[in-house]
């Protein structure tokens, strides 16, 4: 598999992928947290929220269509590299006709670099939105249209 080929994962494979990641990469990925959730709870949350999960090399990617705006998707990545995220955005544009994207990224997460490289802008902050490692943390909201991501 090349570095930019994405493959859809079933729930069990996604859970195994999340469990194998370092906690700092996995935490905040669609509110999933391998540190506080066991495998069964991760699987339950993936199924409950309808997140679609993909792999791209060792990177995990996710998307969830906005039910109130079917051409908009929430996206997430576990890597700071832009290539896997770009591949996901391309796929969503091509196969699901998505025209805009947003992401919720914990403050100081290395993953933020991938969104900024793919043309996402910071449009807001949710103060003290997430708790882990003994304190509350801000979460940054990123947004991009398909044009911003240079995929159109």
């Amino acid at each position: 598999m090349t570095g930019t080929t994405i493959a859809r994962l079933d729930t069990a494979a996604a859970v195994a992928g999340l469990r194998a990641l370092p906690p700092e990469a996995a935490r905040g990925f669609f509110d999933l947290d391998p540190v506080t959730q066991n495998d069964a709870l991760l699987a339950k949350e993936i199924d409950r929220t309808g997140v679609q999960l993909y792999s791209c090399g060792e990177t995990l990617l996710g998307c969830r269509p906005n039910p109130d705006h079917p051409r908009q998707a929430q996206v997430a990545s576990t890597s700071s590299a832009p290539e896997p995220l770009r591949a996901l955005l391309g796929s969503l544009g091509t196969y699901q006709r998505c025209t805009s994207f947003f992401a919720l990224v914990p403050q100081d997460s290395p993953v933020a670099a991938a969104f900024e490289s793919c043309g996402f802008g910071r449009v807001g902050t949710l103060p003290e939105h997430l708790f882990h490692s003994g304190r509350y943390r801000d979460v940054v909201i990123y947004y991009a249209t398909r044009g911003d991501t240079c995929l159109s």
């Binding site: 540190v35 959730q37 066991n38 490692s133």
Partner: protein, 194 residues
């Protein structure tokens, strides 16, 4: 203090924990239901905890160096909104002296730093002085409940108390002191025998 880590309890851990649930001091000091149930029933209960009861009960495996299993901690009566829960421990017999206090500290640290719990509720049967001395138990208890539990043929009195982060720091110091006292006593007895 020895290094102890906390990980999620898995189905692979079930057989060893069933063994602990039937260990004589565990049955006397905590609960003896495992003696009355077969392996299949106990296994089914724990599988249900792992797979379904995330909101009301969670079990964790406490590990020492190289991931060796030292014992287990579990939280029950979880009140997520009030950020409190009851915390219980079962340490494997061969690791109780060396790792007991460190295991308690690690479990407390995990549920406070990662699960955002502020207050834990402790229950210790009064005759159980493995981790808390009789004197310390008398000082700490906020509720003393006679006829609380019936284990191994006897009614047991239980002591209950709540614990904040500040309380915990003080109690861990006392626990380390208790460990030193026991070690000194064993050393003295050994010297007398020689």
């Amino acid at each position: 203090m020895p290094f102890v880590t906390v990980r999620h309890y898995t189905e692979a851990d079930i057989p060893a924990r069933i063994g602990l649930l039937r260990e004589p001091r565990f049955t006397a000091n905590l609960i003896d239901f495992a003696v009355l149930n077969d392996d299949g029933t106990l296994e089914a209960r724990q599988r249900r905890t792992i797979n379904e009861l995330h909101d009301s009960m969670r079990i964790f495996t406490l590990c020492g160096p190289k991931g060796v299993v030292l014992g287990y901690a579990w939280i029950t009566s979880i009140d997520w909104r009030s950020q409190c829960c009851e915390l219980s421990f079962g340490i494997l017999p061969r690791y109780r002296g060396a790792f007991g206090a460190a295991a308690v500290a690690a479990a407390h640290a995990y549920i406070r730093a990662e699960l955002n719990m502020r207050v834990t509720i402790n229950q210790v049967l009064e005759h159980n002085t493995m981790l808390v001395s009789a004197q310390s138990l008398a000082e700490r208890r906020q509720v003393r409940c006679e006829y609380d539990s019936y284990t191994v043929g006897e009614w047991r009195t239980a002591c209950y108390w709540t614990e904040t982060e500040q309380d915990l720091a003080r109690d861990l110091d006392r626990m380390a002191e208790r460990r030193r006292e026991i070690a000194d006593r064993i050393r003295a007895e050994t010297t007398e025998q020689q």
